[in-house]
Amino acid sequence: MSARPFSREQRLAIIHGMLVFVVIVVVLQLWLLTATMNAWLGGDDAVVWPAAAASAGCLALNVGLFRYLVRVERTRRGGA
C-alpha cells in the first residue's frame, strides 16, 4: 500500500512544525555546548560525556526529522 500523498499546503504546515522543533533543539545544543565548554575550562569534566551524548541525541532527532521530510517529499502527488 503506497503512502497517502500530502498536498502542498500540508507539506508547508509539516515543515513549519518541524522547523520550530529543530530550531528549539539547535538553540538547546548551543546552550549545552557553551555550558560544557565553561565547565570543562573550569576543570569540571564530569559533564563532558553526558553532554556529548545529549548533543548526539539531539542531532539524531534532527536527522530523523529531516529524513522524514525527505520521505514526505517522495509521497508528494505525482511521484518523486
Partner: protein, 214 residues
C-alpha cells in the same frame, strides 16, 4: 441499419477527430477532460489572478508557495548541519578531555627563590609547558600566590597590580582579585587557573594547576 465503413478508406491520423476520442491505442480516455492539479498552479505573492499580474511576472512566473517550501526546506537542512557542528564541538571537548586526563599531573618545577621576589613584586614563569604563562606574586614576607596569566575571558595576558590588589586585563578592562584570582570586574566569569605552590627551603616550586569554575 448501419452501413459498415469501408476498410480501405484512408485513416485520419489526427487523434482529435470527432468520434475517435477514447479509442484504445489512439488517445487516453481522459484526454479531453479538463485537468486540474493544485500542485501545478502558479500563485503570485499577492494572490491575484495571473491576468492581473505585471507582464514581467507573466513572463517569469514563480510558484511562490513552492518557493516558500523550498527555502524552508533549505533552512532546515542548514539547521541540521548546525546541529551536527555543535555535536562535533561536544565530541572535540570530550577528545580534549581524554587527552588532558591521559597527560596526568605535570611534574614539579622550581620557579624561583624567595629572595628573588620583593614583597609586592611579581615574576613571570611558564608552567606546565612553554605555552602557559603564569605569574608568581609575593603578597607578604611569607605569602606567595601563583596564577595562570591568561584572562579567562579571551586569554589576553593579565597584568599584576599589587598596589590595587588585583590582576588587570587591558583587553576588556577585566579585573581579578590578587589573593584568590576570582573575577571582580569586567567580562571574565571564571577565576584564573591557580598554580599550587610548595616551599622547599628557600625555593618555591609549582606542583600542579587547578582550574576552577567559582
Amino acid at each position: 441499419m448501419t452501413v459498415p465503413s469501408d476498410p480501405r478508406a484512408p485513416i485520419d491520423p489526427a487523434i482529435n477527430t470527432p468520434g475517435r476520442e477514447g479509442l484504445t491505442g489512439t488517445a487516453p480516455a481522459n484526454l479531453y477532460a479538463p485537468s486540474f492539479d493544485r500542485e501545478q498552479i502558479t500563485i503570485a505573492p499577492d494572490f491575484t489572478p495571473p491576468d492581473l499580474q505585471p507582464a514581467w511576472r507573466q513572463d517569469f512566473p514563480i510558484d511562490w508557495p513552492q518557493d516558500l517550501y523550498v527555502e524552508r526546506r533549505d533552512f532546515m537542512k542548514f539547521m541540521v548541519l548546525t546541529s551536527a557542528a555543535f555535536t562535533v564541538g561536544q565530541l572535540w571537548i570530550a577528545a580534549q578531555n581524554w587527552y588532558r586526563r591521559r597527560s596526568g599531573q605535570p611534574p614539579r618545577q622550581r620557579i624561583a627563590s624567595v629572595d628573588d621576589i620583593p614583597v609586592g613584586g611579581a615574576i613571570g614563569f611558564t608552567y606546565p609547558n612553554e605555552q602557559e604563562p603564569c605569574l608568581l606574586v609575593r603578597l607578604s614576607t611569607s605569602e606567595f600566590v601563583a596564577f595562570g596569566q591568561k584572562c579567562t575571558h579571551l586569554s589576553c595576558a593579565v597584568i599584576p597590580r599589587p598596589e590595587e590588589g588585583s590582576f588587570y586585563c587591558p583587553c576588556h578592562e577585566g579585573r581579578f582579585d590578587l589573593r584568590s584570582g576570582v573575577p571582580i570586574a569586567g567580562p571574565p566569569r571564571r577565576p584564573l587557573s591557580r598554580v599550587v605552590l610548595e616551599m622547599r627551603g628557600r625555593d618555591i616550586y609549582a606542583v600542579s594547576v587547578e582550574e576552577r569554575t567559582t
